[in-house]
């Protein structure tokens, strides 16, 4: 316990001396100034733009001011993203570039409806209080640093010998506005101590406010919902095309090939009938029969891969069927009072099938548990757990990454928990309606 307290205290006190702190403070300075300036300019342009547009004569000028504000906001957003990336290591993807319309009115229309720019404007507005705190942190820390040097200053300059000293104190809620006056060299150590406190408090506050700023940047300056939808739509379309190609390939290499072989066997057998070569005829017909049976099996697998018939009865029975065919013993618990949309059922089913196949291939597990249930909030949850060796990684395993992509096309999520040594648990969260 004591050891723990010492460690935490050490971390708190040493924090101001780390490289990270320097960067956080640099960020406070640059981003804070940019924030204040950005707020001022954006507000001036917006307010004047709106008021001028309202008056009869100034519409054109007003609209120009508005579009200027929006363009500037996009630029400012880029600056803030870059600062956050450079100094805080917060890499936020840039939203898609502005797509200008055609014609003057078209351009204007596109500009005024530019969601990305309006989100950037809202960031500029919210940023003002954040920037104020950031600049305050910087000031408090700098003043603290100056205060820490007082004992040395006193000795070097003695400019207050016999007199008194009013040390600079950052405004803070603790001192209630009390003024400090120092009359002797030992007294300066109190100032230094207070300064050190100011440095520690300032740097930690900076970390806190910067963490908040990062959230704002992620939420307001990253890709919007629309561009996210566009991305997942592309994934969905690609997924569908790939699925069709797979079906075609499976037909070509499977059933079609076997039926061609079957036709060949029968053709040869027919020729042999004329030679009355009974043994060969029998052999060829056997081969033909084998090919027919194999072609049927291929077609059955393919059909099941397109739409598992068991799914018509609902997820619980489809998953139960799936579990009985699993190589590793698997149990299913299901609690789905209302049926999800067919597309969601299909995705959940294929996720379960893929996860069971993954576990069979990689986990060396003795048992797999499949749990599927709906939550009142309209969410379908699928959990596939195995007691195997763990170490599954969504980033590396292409199968898991593919599943995550497929799930994301309907705004679902896939989380993997698989520490080395196991157990592995994959949670899939899907909306009930696609």
């Amino acid at each position: 316990m004591a050891e723990q307290i010492r460690r935490v205290t050490g971390t708190i006190l040493r924090a101001p001396l780390t490289r990270r702190t320097v960067r956080e403070l640099q960020y406070c300075a640059l981003s804070g100034l940019a924030g204040v300036a950005g707020f001022a300019v954006t507000m001036v342009l917006l307010v004047s733009g709106v008021t001028v547009t309202g008056s009869v004569v100034g519409t054109v000028v007003g609209l120009l001011l508005l579009t200027l504000a929006l363009r500037l906001s996009r630029r400012l957003a880029a600056l803030h993203r870059r600062l956050a990336g450079w100094l805080l290591g917060e890499r936020v993807e840039a939203p898609p570039n502005f797509q200008p319309g055609s014609g003057i009115l078209g351009r204007l229309d596109k500009r005024l409806r530019d969601r990305t720019a309006w989100r950037a404007v809202s960031y500029s507005l919210v940023k003002l209080p954040v920037a104020a705190v950031q600049l305050y942190c910087l000031m408090a820390t700098l003043i603290g640093v100056v205060d820490v040097t007082y004992p040395v200053d006193w000795l070097l300059f003695r400019h207050h010998a016999g007199g008194s000293l009013h040390p600079l104190m950052a405004p803070n809620p603790v001192s209630f506005g009390a003024k400090l006056e120092i009359y002797s060299w030992p007294g300066t150590f109190l100032v230094a101590l207070l300064g050190a406190l100011g440095v520690v408090a300032g740097t930690w506050l900076a970390r806190g406010v910067n963490a908040g700023d990062r959230r704002l940047i992620r939420g307001l300056l990253g890709p919007s919902r629309v561009s996210e939808l566009e991305r997942t739509r592309t994934l969905a379309v690609d997924d569908a095309a790939a699925a069709l190609r797979r079906v075609e390939r499976d037909l070509h290499d499977g059933a079609q090939m076997r039926l061609a072989a079957l036709a060949m066997n029968l053709g040869m057998a027919r020729e042999k009938l004329d030679d009355a070569d009974e043994a060969t005829v029998r052999e060829l017909i056997d081969a033909a029969q084998r090919n027919a049976v194999d072609a049927l099996a291929d077609l059955r697998d393919l059909a099941r891969g397109i739409h598992p018939p068991a799914l018509d009865l609902g997820l619980p029975s489809a998953l139960a069927t799936l579990a009985t065919s699993s190589a590793i013993p698997a149990t299913v618990t299901a609690d789905i009072p209302a049926r999800p949309a067919p597309a969601i059922e299909s995705i959940a089913y294929f996720c379960a099938a893929e996860l069971i196949a993954n576990a069979t291939k990689h986990s060396y597990a003795n048992h797999i548990k499949i749990n599927i249930y709906t939550e009142r909030s309209g969410v379908l949850r699928l959990e596939v757990t195995d007691d195997g060796v763990g170490g599954a990684d969504a980033a590396r395993g292409s199968g898991l990454a593919g599943l995550a992509q497929r799930v994301s096309t309907v705004d679902g999520r896939l989380d993997v928990s698989s520490p080395p040594g196991g157990p592995t648990m994959v949670r899939v969260e899907l909306p009930l309606k696609a």
Binding site: M257, A260, A263, M264, N265, M268
Partner: protein, 221 residues
């Protein structure tokens, strides 16, 4: 007849080998990709190669590309494309350099062993064997341009069989008419198309194909 087979499905490769050897032909090599095909042809100088279109590594049209390369490098070797699909663009590319020693059959045709073997022998001998599917595709394309309107239905039937590479006797047997009647139809077709009659089967096919007017064929010599 010495044959090289290029087919990636082992089942069909072995079946074809057996089928041809049963009929007394020598399968000198059976390979499973385009590169193997070119190497085998260079080594064995066969009479004819049976080539699947979709083969490793990309499973798209490597068989066709290998076949075109064969036509350039080994003009004396007949090439029979053997596929589950008939693609008009594939037929056009294949026939671009002329129809001599070229065939393009659906894999289904192997069900009739005798006809399949006859087609392969025709290709090996410098003739042509086009799948009825290929011919009807070319017909459709031609009809859309209004090219076949002057022919009677019977003449169109005869033209289709000519396009497949059949001889007059073969056409007579297929349509159950006399050889003289076939000759009359053929002469009439050539007159209507303004082509001098010729008793060489291959020149007939070339003429037919050129009339059917695949753009690639019109450019070909």
């Amino acid at each position: 007849m010495r044959v090289v087979i290029a087919e990636d499905a082992a089942l069909l490769r072995e079946g074809l080998t057996r089928l041809l050897e049963d009929r007394g032909h020598a399968v000198v090599a059976a390979v499973n990709d385009g590169e193997g095909l070119l190497a085998a042809v260079a080594e064995h100088k066969p009479d004819v190669a049976v080539v699947d279109i979709r083969m490793p590594p990309t499973h798209t049209d490597e068989g066709l590309r290998a076949a075109l390369e064969l036509r350039r490098s080994f003009p004396g070797v007949g090439v029979l494309m053997f596929s589950q699909y008939i693609e008009t663009s594939y037929s056009a590319q294949l026939l671009e350099g002329g129809a001599a020693g070229v065939g393009y059959l659906l894999k289904d045709r192997v069900a009739n062993v005798a006809e399949f073997a006859a087609a392969l022998e025709r290709v090996a001998g410098g003739g042509t064997a086009l799948d009825p599917e290929v011919v009807s595709q070319l017909f459709r394309a031609s009809r859309q341009r209004g090219g076949l309107t002057t022919l009677t239905p019977r003449e169109r039937q005869v033209l289709a069989l000519m396009a497949e590479g059949r001889s007059n006797a073969g056409i007579a047997a297929e349509l159950v008419i006399s050889g003289g009647a076939v000759e009359k139809h053929v002469a009439s077709i050539f007159t209507k198309l303004g082509l001098p009659p010729d008793d060489n089967d291959n020149r007939r096919v070339l003429a037919v194909l050129r009339y059917l007017g695949s753009p690639a064929l019109r450019a070909a010599g």
